[in-house]
């Protein structure tokens, strides 16, 4: 199989796709009313209840509303399981307001309401309560982590490759991370700690393809010193494209298993990885290499 696609000549295709994705995702996120921050970040309550016989979501919601609880009710796991997640979020904290200890009593109220309404039919199998202090800390540390991640990787790549390549890779990573994050907003995925873990995993993984391509460009540059960067880059992408697709394919296969079988938390996480990893292949070809190329074209004859 001898593929020879002139990727760099068609790089505008990639640019257009990128711009389209960004606009779609941003519009989608805005239309949904912004990101769906999970209770890990904004604080709130989550109660997982198991019912012995079938119960409808609307019915549970109605029961809760009668006790003045405004919460989201969602199916948890398989439909046959009769398990539901009831979650409420803490209202946005106004400046200077202190957290009242009483705010965490909500889970007890939900439990009591359900127990009164359904008696023996209901059993609470899990609950989470997160105060707002923790959330603020988490938000801050998530930003720190992303920052450190970019910095350390850039340093490593600059050490292993040319600085320019390192910059290209970082640019691509920022692209991937921003896009994955917007993907969550677009799909309405709840942004919780596992999702942050997912974003950082995409970070570490989507750069792998880029390294494979860069590695080949570096090798070819030594061997074909006379040719232009564009030719070398095109040739390198063509040479390693198959393995880039294959490696991502096997990983996607594993992630897909998580997606279809995993529990609800893992499910969202897997959905994000599916998008992020697939996006990684695209951005290697259409972002990471063209960025280096554009730079070289402007600074030297290429």
């Amino acid at each position: 199989m001898k593929l020879t696609i002139k990727f760099l000549e068609h790089r505008w295709v990639g640019y257009i796709i990128t711009i389209l994705m960004f606009t779609t995702f941003i519009t989608g996120t805005v239309m949904r009313g912004g990101f769906n921050w999970g209770i890990d970040f904004v604080g709130g309550i989550k109660v997982i209840a198991h019912f012995n016989s079938a119960v409808r979501v609307a019915e549970i919601r109605h029961t809760l509303e009668q006790s003045g609880i405004k919460g989201e009710v969602q199916q948890f796991g398989n439909e046959q399981n009769n398990e539901f997640v009831i979650s409420t979020r803490l209202p946005e904290r106004r400046a200077g307001e202190q957290q009242a200890a009483g705010q965490l009593q909500g889970a007890d109220l939900i439990e009591r309401t359900l127990a009164n309404a359904y008696r023996d039919n209901v059993r609470i199998i899990g609950r989470e309560e997160v105060g707002p202090t923790i959330g603020e800390y988490l938000k801050k540390s998530a930003i720190y982590l992303v920052f450190w991640c970019i910095l350390l990787m850039a340093l490593y790549l600059a050490f292993r490759f040319e600085t320019l390549f390192s910059l290209g890779a970082m640019f691509m990573i920022c692209h991937d991370v921003a896009l994955s994050f917007l993907f969550c907003g677009f799909m309405g995925l709840e942004i919780n700690i596992p999702i942050i873990a997912g974003v950082l995993t995409i970070f570490g993984y989507s750069i792998n393809d880029t390294i494979i391509v860069y590695d080949r460009i570096r090798e070819n540059m030594a061997a074909m010193a006379k040719q232009s960067f564009r030719e070398i880059a095109n040739r390198s992408i063509n040479q390693v494209l198959m393995r880039t697709i294959l490696t991502t394919f096997t990983t996607l296969m594993a992630v897909f298993c998580l997606y279809i079988i995993g529990e609800s938390v893992i499910n969202d996480f897997a959905e994000l990885l599916l998008f992020g990893f697939a996006c990684g292949v695209f951005s290697t070809v259409y972002i990471a290499v063209p960025v280096v190329y554009e730079w070289k074209r402007r600074t030297e004859e290429a």
Partner: protein, 554 residues
Amino acid sequence: MSRGVVYKLIFIILLIAFAVVLILPTVGEREMNILLRDDATAEQIDAIAARFTRDGHQVIKGETAVSVKGYGLNDAVMNEARTFAGVKDVKYVQHWAEDRPIRAKRINLGLDLQGGMQLVLIPNFEALERRLGKKMDDSEKSDASQQALELLRNRVDQFGVYEPQLRRRESGAIEIQLPGVRDPEAVKRLIGTTGRVEYRLVDDEYSRKAEEWLRGNAEIKEKGFPEEPAAQRELLGKMAQAIGIPNSLEVLFFFERIQNTKKLVPSRPMALEKKLSLAGDDISKAYRAYDDYSRLCVSFSTTTQGAAKFADATSKKNHGKRLAIVIDNKVRSAPSINVHITTGHAQIQGDFTTEEVDTLISIIKEGALPVDLERAEERSVGPSLGVDSINSGIKALGIALAAVIIFMIVYYKLAGLISAIGICVNLTFMLAILSWLNFTLTLPGIAGFVLTIGMAVDANIIIYERIKEELATGKSVKMAISTGFEHAFWAIVDSNVTTLIAAFILSQFGTGPIKGFAVTLSIGVITSMFVVLYITRFVYELISMKKNLKKLNI
């Protein structure tokens, strides 16, 4: 075969065998002994047996104990067994691989997999500042949370939980993990209140009598002190009656902390006056100092009010007696009174380690200024949810494994089979390292395993594609294999290092389950690199040794 190759072969086989043995206590059958109370009825025993036969465990009913053998006997199950009527204690029977020469460890399951409760508590610094009448700086806050942690350690044993874990987190928060808790309400009640520190005189005569009585008690001699707080109280009651203690005194246990487990255990009984010599808040401050022999000691000052009480307690008539420091009805220290102190400044001297001194200071400070704890986060997972999570995790793992293996064999034929074996070896290594280093497996951790399956073959694919490329340029099979591995080496290392950087950063991100994911991913990246670049490569070296090797099935 050359000698070097033989050695390498033996090394690899030994390594794999060792890894398999290491994971035996985790994946193999386990056994636990449910020790019965003397008054356990036949119905109670049957109920216990029925509970475990129902789950398909092998149950042997004995006179004093019920032995249960089977899969999935984790800490939470043990804690559940403890709650049955007629049960005195539950002991885990060690797997042979856990014994001396190998010391394999069972893998720890996170709370999300075995069920349990996690609490994050934050000291109420504002209330403290109000009481102190000044702002606290960071080191004072850190002190306060340290002393709160001390108080919690003191208490957490009362929940009768098998392996409680307490640790300090960012900005003074304290995280408590209690596997398999049945009654979260009781836990919350106990944790919300603050500790009571008291200073009471020790009565040496009755303390001696109590110790003598214990020495004569055959059961205690044989089995040691009971671990359950209720049983301890029962024993103290029996003891008090036996030695005929006067009404003004009571017996309590002196507690010591075991170094490696951090657990507080009773070490000896002590008779104390019921009357307090000083209350906890009679002390104003406590700090580290050195005595006249430059040994580490605890220095403390009383309040003005406390000074008079302290002067009374240390007066001539009490010299030679001991003053016990009691927190939550546990005696934690009992220094002797040697000097009459009227100034309100005193020292507790002894051969203390730094840690002992700090613990003592924490206790004294806790009495002086109780720290209120507020719940900042609470998560509890029922055991059934945990079991569901494990099952779906294992299912995902199995299907992912099958899918990737089938793909590799279809696409790369024999070479694919070799990498499939590589994945299995890799998973064994991962599990072995995880249990060996005492890491905790969480649900995201299982996701890390699944992800590793997909990523581990990446290196194989990169190498195989390179070999194909080399073959296409007309190189011999032997040459193609060796250049293929050589050229792919740095690309593999580079890409794995970046994944490792991301995983490492992620492991710094506070909470338990995600840490589990990051750790599994990191270990997976390292072991898969080792498997591919060392073991798989070795297999190809063996293949290359075949004479007249013309075609590679790839």
